[in-house]
């Protein structure tokens, strides 16, 4: 009878790993063992060291014992799948196989971009009626303002396409894809400050520690390409003139899921992945041998302790090894035809720009990456809206259009979901002074505009409505939970079924509060 190395009673107790029980239970047991191990180690201090060392190299599992060192990659894959193969499948046939999320961090002002409110022009500098604002608590940045003067948009709007969607003159390119996208005017969130709001959008919870959307997808659907991560993050280089809010790696953390589901970032400048190239004198064979040796040691640790994070480490080393081959090919844009550059514009040739990242997102989609999130910071326009917005839109508008058009041309839009969203909207009233030429806008959680396109989304529609001040949603509200439930649905996942038991709760992306798929957005 085999015993856990830390077991204090060698004569009794069955070996859990040997029992004919589901592998999921065994896994849970193994995870508990790590805690026991901690106590065991604490025990050593109290004088149990001798007994622990007497236990020697007892093996935890027969299966792990059987796997020889040669089958490194296979064993790693096998072990990481102990959470059960059945989980890693769509609940139903999906419309989209992959998604690209263009995250507009900071909170784009819906009134200046997609939520057309012509009647506000007549209300310039009038006070926002108290009845509209109600009892809402404002941010500290404007709660002290003596008055809340209405700031109509500085820009005119035009109708585009067959759908006749109204789009700001700031987004002439987005207007051209009006018939391909579904504009959601009624997105609303619970948080009024950046960090909680951006966490809520990405993880379904304002508190850190939960897995983000991309991690849930990686966990729920698995990979289509072993040579690239399932979930990738592309950050856009900072524009120092803009008001940039920090974007932290918490946003692509896998939370309580295995860290192999965390997003992998490509750097926005220099080498896409640091230390990707082997140093001089180290060829690929040597690298392989080194990894085999490290993996062997890691496997030993896993066999001893049963901590699944050890397996994550093994699989991440293996991924990095494979990325040494796949990333250079990915980042090599020399074979892109001229039509690509005509579409994306000259910015796309400069690594780290939003246009470059959109092009990269398309290349990742082609290569079977499930989920790519592109972050663009700087939308936090508390002041100088007329100075900042043309800059922000100039950086993003054409690239958004190019990405959707490119995917459509290449036949990828049928099964790729494209999402454009920030963490909240901005107020109709001006923050700070309002002049004919300039104004500021504070955070506004009650309504903001987003759009989706492709994979299973009904094209050319505008969903939801806001009141005449673009302040409250008056029709078809879409909460962040509903928004995320809809994204999962598009990818073939029932948001109520993609769960992970943690801290005694079947955790899910859409939080325990009921959420529903927005069927009006589905094709």
């Amino acid at each position: 009878m085999k015993q856990h190395p830390c077991c204090t009673d060698p004569e009794h107790g069955p070996n859990v790993m040997g029992l004919p029980i589901p592998t999921g239970l065994k896994q849970e047991w193994a995870e508990l063992e790590t805690r026991r191990c901690f106590l065991g180690r604490a025990g050593k201090v109290l004088g149990w060291a001798a007994l622990a060392s007497l236990m020697g190299d007892r093996m935890l599992t027969d299966a792990a014992h059987a796997a020889g060192p040669a089958a490194t990659a296979g064993a790693a894959a096998g072990m990481s799948a102990t959470s059960g193969d059945s989980i890693r499948l769509a609940n139903f046939a999906p419309k989209a196989k992959r998604a690209i999320y263009l995250f507009m961090s900071g909170g784009p002002p819906q009134i200046d971009l997609l939520d057309y409110k012509p009647q506000l022009q007549g209300l310039y500098d009038k006070d926002l009626p108290d009845s509209v604002r109600g009892q809402q608590q404002l941010t500290g940045m404007t709660s002290g303002q003596a008055r809340f003067p209405i700031a109509p948009s500085h820009w005119a709007f035009k109708q585009y396409g067959q759908s006749g969607a109204w789009v700001s003159d700031l987004l002439p390119y987005t207007g051209q894809i009006a018939d391909d996208i579904a504009i959601i005017k009624s997105t609303n969130t619970d948080a009024i400050n950046h960090e909680p709001a951006i966490m809520l959008m990405n993880t379904g919870n304002m508190n850190p520690g939960k897995p983000c959307l991309g991690s849930w997808l990686a966990y729920g659907l698995g990979s289509m390409n072993d040579n690239l991560p399932t979930f990738m993050v592309l950050q856009t280089k900072l524009n120092e003139k803009e008001n940039n809010q920090p974007v932290s790696s918490r946003l692509w953390s896998s939370g309580f899921l295995s860290s192999e589901y965390a997003g992998v970032g490509l750097r926005s400048a220099g080498d896409p992945v640091l230390y990707l190239s082997d140093p001089q004198g180290v060829d690929r064979e040597v690298r392989r041998q080194m990894l085999d040796a490290v993996n062997a040691i890691n496997r030993q640790t896993y066999e001893e302790l049963g901590d699944p994070e050890t397996n994550s480490r093994i699989s991440q080393y293996e991924m990095a090894y494979r990325m040494q081959a796949s990333v250079p090919e990915l980042a090599d844009l020399s074979k892109e035809p001229q039509s690509t550059w005509d579409l994306y514009g000259p910015d796309a040739k400069i690594p780290g720009t939003f246009a470059y990242n959109c092009l990269m997102a398309r290349r990742l989609a082609e290569r079977g990456v499930r989920f790519t999130q592109v972050y663009k910071r700087g939308w936090d326009v508390h002041g100088n809206v007329t100075g900042l917005l043309p800059m922000l839109c100039g950086e993003t508008d054409r690239a958004c259009y190019a990405l959707v058009t490119d995917l459509k041309r290449r036949g990828l839009l049928d099964d790729t979901l494209v999402i454009w969203a920030g963490e909240f909207g901005r107020t109709v009233y001006s923050q700070g002074g309002l002049t004919k030429d300039n104004y500021g806008r504070d955070h506004h959680p009650r309504c903001y505009s987003t759009w989706m396109a492709g994979g299973g989304i009904r094209p050319g529609i505008t969903y939801g409505e806001t009141d005449e001040y673009s302040y409250n949603v008056v029709k078809d509200p879409v909460t962040v939970r509903d928004f995320n439930a809809t994204i999962l649905h598009s990818l073939g996942i029932d948001h109520n079924k993609l769960t992970y038991n943690f801290q005694g709760l079947d955790q899910k992306l859409t939080s325990p509060v009921p959420a529903s798929v927005v069927t009006g957005l589905l094709a």
Binding site: G74, S86, L89, A90, N91, F92, A93, P94, G161, Q162, S163, G164, D179, G222, M224, N225, D226, N227, P337, Q338, S339, D342, L343, G345, E366, R367, G368, R409, R410, G411, D414, R458, G460, I461, T462, E465, G492
Partner: protein, 468 residues
């Protein structure tokens, strides 16, 4: 009418007065449509308010009139019932007058006009006169002096009732209400038009997409039977003619087209259409309408730029068989070739997808052929940027459940694409960045389900010129 009336009118002065009044009333009813003409304009709101009780009031005379023949027949055996029949008939007459008045107020107040309204109105007038005549003829029948006139009058009245009620029902529910779900043999027997479509413009965008939308949502009020606002939408000509408020459609100008304005108002707006709580048009239907108007509102144009409507899937998606038993074999195959055969979903009947992206450059026709044994279970093959060639078409032809084929960036030239025509489930074919020519694509035209063929950057569809 002097002498003739003298002969027919009874000599009893009281009866004579009754008959005189009845005649005058009948004449008044017949002349009513000329006195207060239904001019199709809206009149005072209170008229409509009262008039809207018409659908309620009509049930009084209907119920009573149906009761009359029953009471008369049953009266053969029980005299008291026959006595009651007289009262019921008289009450029915009062009910008729009430319903007629309210109905007229409704039609006059709301400005509804049209042949259906007219027919219904005349039905009501004839019916009321019929009931009145029955009331007057009944005493003869009861006394036994004239046995045939009353039953005949009653028969005519009941027929008029049936016809009028049907006309009224058609106004409310639309003319196809009764026949819509009639069993086909019955329809043929009754020679009901199975499809009442506007002409046979056949493939035109109007016939295929605009007319059905109007037919389903608007024609019950804006049709031949009821022309609310003087507007009919049941034919192209009528639609373009517009109504009392002006043209419904201004070709090329969606913003000036009243029809589009009305269907896109906020649903709680007074002028929102479809009115009275009927479900609003679907977003895509509004999109079609707008596009159709924008591009000239033609009766014959078959295609609109920027609008592609996918016909409802001709064939339902065929579930594939259960491949669970083959899973060990599939796993072995994956380990050997590196290509992945992944399940579409937890439901085995959704099939498998072949992914080759990991081994693209080493995956050629020979490797593809090895997957042929799983062919019936594979619904999609991702062969983008692999080494497959035109020889792969012969293999792919065996994948009878294929819905999507990705061949982008491969060396295929399209030679042999004809072999794929047997794939009846195929809806998606991506040939972007290949050497496929337009000529090679010709055989695909016969594939009805194949909706999405992508040819970006091929000889068949060269890269678009720079847009800058």
């Amino acid at each position: 009418m002097g002498a003739a009336a003298d002969r027919w009118l009874p000599q009893n002065p009281r009866l004579r007065r009754t008959w005189g009044a009845a005649l005058a009333l009948s004449l008044g009813l017949v002349l009513l449509p000329w006195v207060a003409r239904l001019d199709g304009k809206q009149h005072a709101n209170w008229l409509q308010f009262i008039g809207r009780f018409h659908p309620l009031a009509i049930h009084i005379p209907i119920g009573l009139l149906v009761l009359v023949p029953l009471l008369e027949i049953a009266g053969k055996h029980r005299a008291s019932l026959r006595e009651a029949a007289g009262l019921v008939l008289e009450l029915a007459f009062v009910g008729c007058l009430l319903a007629l008045t309210l109905g007229y107020l409704l039609a006059y107040g709301s400005g509804d006009a049209g042949s259906g309204v007219t027919r219904h109105m005349w039905g009501g007038i004839v019916l009321t006169i019929g009931v009145l005549a029955s009331v007057l003829a009944r005493p003869w029948w009861v006394r036994g002096s004239e046995e045939r006139v009353y039953p005949a009058l009653l028969g005519v009245t009941l027929t008029a009732l049936l016809w009028t009620a049907h006309q009224g029902g058609s106004l409310t529910y639309g003319s196809g209400y009764l026949t819509a779900y009639m069993p086909p043999p019955m329809k043929q027997m009754l020679l009901v038009d199975v499809i009442q479509r506007d002409g046979d413009a056949g493939g035109s965008f109007y016939a295929a997409h605009i007319h059905p939308v109007l037919d389903a949502n608007c024609v019950s009020c804006h049709g031949a039977t009821k022309m609310s606002g003087g507007l009919r939408l049941d034919s192209y000509d009528a639609l373009m003619r517009g109504g009392k408020q002006g043209p419904a459609i201004v070709p090329g100008k969606p913003e000036a087209s009243l029809l589009l304005t009305r269907v896109t108002l906020p649903p709680d707006h007074k002028g929102f259409m479809p009115a009275e709580g009927r479900p609003p048009l679907k977003p895509e239907e509004i999109t079609w309408l707008r596009a159709w108007v924008l591009q000239g509102a033609s009766a014959t144009a078959t295609n609109l730029a920027g609008i592609s409507i996918q016909a409802p899937k001709g064939l339902p998606i065929q579930p594939v068989g259960d491949y669970s038993a083959l899973m060990p074999e599939i796993k072995l195959m994956q380990q050997g070739l590196g290509a992945k055969l992944l399940q579409v979903s937890q439901k085995p009947s959704d099939g498998l997808v072949l992914y080759t992206v990991d081994v693209a450059s080493n995956f050629g026709d020979a490797q593809l052929a090895q997957f042929a044994k799983f062919a019936p279970y594979i619904v999609e093959v991702e062969l983008g940027r692999t080494a497959v060639t035109d020889a792969s078409f012969a293999t792919l032809a065996k994948f009878t459940n294929l819905r999507a084929i990705h061949l982008e960036g491969t060396a295929v030239t399209g030679n042999g694409l004809a072999k794929l025509t047997g794939l009846t489930q195929l809806t998606y074919l991506n040939l972007s960045e290949t050497k496929v020519t337009a000529a090679a694509l010709a055989p695909l035209k016969s594939m009805k389900n194949l909706q999405n063929v992508y040819l970006d950057n091929t000889p068949a569809q060269p890269a678009p010129a720079a847009t800058e």
